[in-house]
Symmetry: C2
Subunit: 468 residues, 2 copies
């Protein structure tokens, strides 16, 4: 097969951009840093949304929608928040043909405006917890944009919740972290994320604790795929969000926020893509079985249509490519690029022998299968390949992660993968040193792999890596 993409080993960033362009996932927008998500990319995002949304609702949160425009003054109420976001803001100064009395910012995130409304809606402890989520676009002006990973506008979900006390807020931030984010990423995305606590330096602007899901990309770098924050009473105090407790006292609420975005599309590509294109995990894939008519012939179109119906009846998301006026080779290359998990090729020669050919994107195998067995074979392949993509990603992570004892060793190891090193050997000073060399502390975990409450706990392990 002719070389379609720059090979990963040759130039990973170039391969990434090639793949996005040739698989028609996205384009750069006309305003610097913005992107156009094309149908092939957006269909995957819709599947991500559906799976995430079901988990968010199962965790008790309700969807709502808050305005795109936020008064500049709101951002300024929480000191760390304004400092964190000011350099990235887009500012609207004119509306309806006139200069605005107060400029408004395009939301970089909605803590402030949602804080304002939660304060209005919460009266007593009976109104808590208040669990909200929104699917929206946000804007953070990017100087070095890269599609899906860093764009001036991106799509995301942002959850915002208020609780009666710190323990309830913490439990909920962690519930989202594990039951929504980690579960989705491991089971659907097939990405074995490492879950931990961010250091103070890497925390969200205004948070008291930030939990993260970190994935290892195909080049050994880390990508932060989702974060869940405890905000303490910072935003509640900034927006006077109080409630009457069961005992009758007036108290500030404890809030959380948590988000995942179209950045996950970048992670999906960089974890599962190969030199022929994307590989979409079967459970996530908008099209799981892609039926291709090889060429026209006696009964071929009918057989393809019958297979499509049988697969659909079996609950498989199925596509049908019968564009026999386009060369089969070109269509096959396109199918590889798009990463459909299973292709079912139907052509006159195989059909004469009662067969179709099953092509599995994950391992590239091509197997003639009796037409009557296609549904069972597809179902088995989808299940097996979901697991094997996950296992392949896990094997890569394990092979590229080393355990070391000093900061110097960790920084060296981060040139090619991840380093596990005692946090006591790093600390804030070591973190500064690492940052100077392009290496960051991705997160802290306990020795048993569980997520710490504070970076001051003893015996924590720091994961150091280069990151997107």
């Amino acid at each position: 097969m002719a070389r379609v993409l720059t090979p990963r080993a040759e130039d990973f960033p170039r391969w990434y951009q090639d793949l996005i362009a040739k698989a028609q996932l996205a384009d750069n927008g006309p305003v610097r840093g913005t992107m156009v998500i094309r149908p092939a990319g957006y269909a995957i995002w819709e599947r991500m949304q559906a799976e995430m949304d079901a988990r968010i609702k199962a965790a008790g949160a309700e969807n709502a929608y808050f305005p795109l425009f936020i008064p500049e003054s709101y951002l300024k109420r929480e000191a760390e928040h304004v400092e964190g976001f000011s350099p990235e803001l887009a500012v609207v100064t004119h509306g309806g043909g006139k200069q605005l009395a107060e400029p408004v910012v395009v939301r970089p995130t909605s803590e402030t405006v949602i804080g304002e409304f939660m304060a209005k809606w919460i009266g007593s402890y009976r109104d808590l917890p208040l669990l909200l989520n929104q699917w929206a676009n946000v804007v953070r002006w990017e100087m070095r944009p890269r599609i899906f990973l860093r764009t001036s506008e991106f799509l995301w979900q942002e959850g915002h919740t208020a609780h009666v006390d710190e323990a309830d807020a913490r439990a909920y931030a962690r519930r989202i972290l594990h039951e929504v984010y980690e579960d989705f990423m491991v089971r659907e995305l097939g990405i074995p994320v490492l879950v931990g606590l961010k250091t103070a330096r890497e925390r969200f602007a205004g948070a008291t604790a930030t939990y993260t899901c970190e994935g290892m990309m195909g080049d050994g770098k880390a990508l932060q795929l989702g974060t869940s924050h405890e905000l303490g009473q910072n935003f509640a105090k900034a927006f006077d969000m109080t409630f009457t407790s069961a005992a009758g006292s007036v108290e500030h609420a404890w809030t959380t926020s948590w988000g995942t975005s179209t950045r996950m599309l970048g992670g999906l590509i960089m974890v599962h893509g190969d030199d022929n294109g994307l590989r979409v995990p079967p459970r996530l894939a908008p099209v799981q079985a892609h039926i291709m008519v090889v060429k026209a012939g006696d009964g071929v179109a009918e057989a393809a249509a019958k297979l499509r119906d049988a697969l659909r009846d079996a609950g498989v998301r199925v596509g049908l490519d019968d564009r026999t006026d386009t060369p089969f080779g070109r269509r096959a290359v396109d199918a590889e690029l798009k990463g459909y998990p299973v292709r079912v090729e139907v052509g006159p020669r195989d059909l004469a022998a009662g067969n179709a050919v099953l092509v599995r994107r994950t391992n590239g195998s091509k197997t003639p299968v009796p037409v009557t067995d296609v549904v069972a074979a597809v179902l088995a392949a989808l299940e097996a390949d979901q697991q094997s993509l996950h296992d392949e990603a896990l094997a890569l992570r394990e092979s590229r992660t080393v355990t070391v004892q000093t900061l110097a060793e960790a920084i060296e190891a981060a040139a090619t993968g991840w380093a596990r090193v005692p946090w006591s050997e790093v600390g804030p000073a070591g973190e500064t040193e690492a940052n100077g060399k392009g290496v960051t502390v991705r997160c802290l975990v306990r020795a048993d792999g569980s997520v710490p409450d504070s970076e001051d706990e003893p015996d924590l392990v720091a994961i150091l890596a280069r990151a997107y």
Copy 2:
């Protein structure tokens, strides 16, 4: 029952605002003209999206996402378009802490940016039709905002398609009009919309034809609920969107666009709401059967949970209110406000007799039903009440529509409802006169009710009304 809302007959606009606030559907946002869609309102919007999206996909369109920010220069390429939208634009002048070299506008609609990309993606006739849709927020600065009806930011879907010739573009604009919009509005929203052609004056900025779905609200005014436009070759020429035809010539494509928005939530309220609150048509309702525990008692919680499971198993979307620490009367008022189609009240006294009480929101009936018959009774009520809400709206429209022969009579009739009058008696001059009196030509239809291709066809009927 105590008066909760201003009665419709007393002050319809006040009733509308009261209902939105008390049913907790939405709030005004902090920036003038923006809105916060609360969970009770957003859940209805999600149901609208799901039903619409399925129809849009069935019509062959694929979802994509285009940027929020559009270079100011794009808007200026199509003369009528820039003139139509300039007064409503929000302009971003600063990004990332710096003044921008070229200001960008926040999309009021995406014809221009999508035109730019379609031009890139289309090469030959084989790439056509290109059928795209996006779900997004748009901004049109509003001087006289009203929640859901006119807001500076609103949520919508906008379809954009390109075709080989005018006939194909027209057929598709009309397919969306009937198979997506009219079908959704009549079958799901329960609003018997009148479908017709806009006059040249009321056309979308840059369109050659605008088709519309108009609904009659509870006060006799009209609301435009969705529009589908033929754009001719205007945008294709402005963005150099050409294709190589089957014959080998290079031609400009013919495009369409079509949209519906959160304005439909306003229509839903004003068509089906009554003096006790909202009434949501059963097929649309996020919660179709709302189980209420009247008060705690022997076996009550268990019976309520069993009914919930049984209804869910029967495919009913079901909610459960067991907050027995809140007075039942207050909860019942809230359920009326929210407009759940059917309430199933479970209390110790009825349960002792083996009954639950079925309360139908549409007609207010309260009927004791044996617990074993509840599922069947709920299913029957949901089906019947979907129809009766539609029929009630149709009866109102018919009773408030008069057929007249002169412009003067039409303007007079529009004070309380709709007037049907020969378009030949109105014409552009009469339209100007009517506009001066707060009356607009909502649309033109043929005598047999079908949708004309042009306002120059003979024997057209004009529908005149006041409108939102």
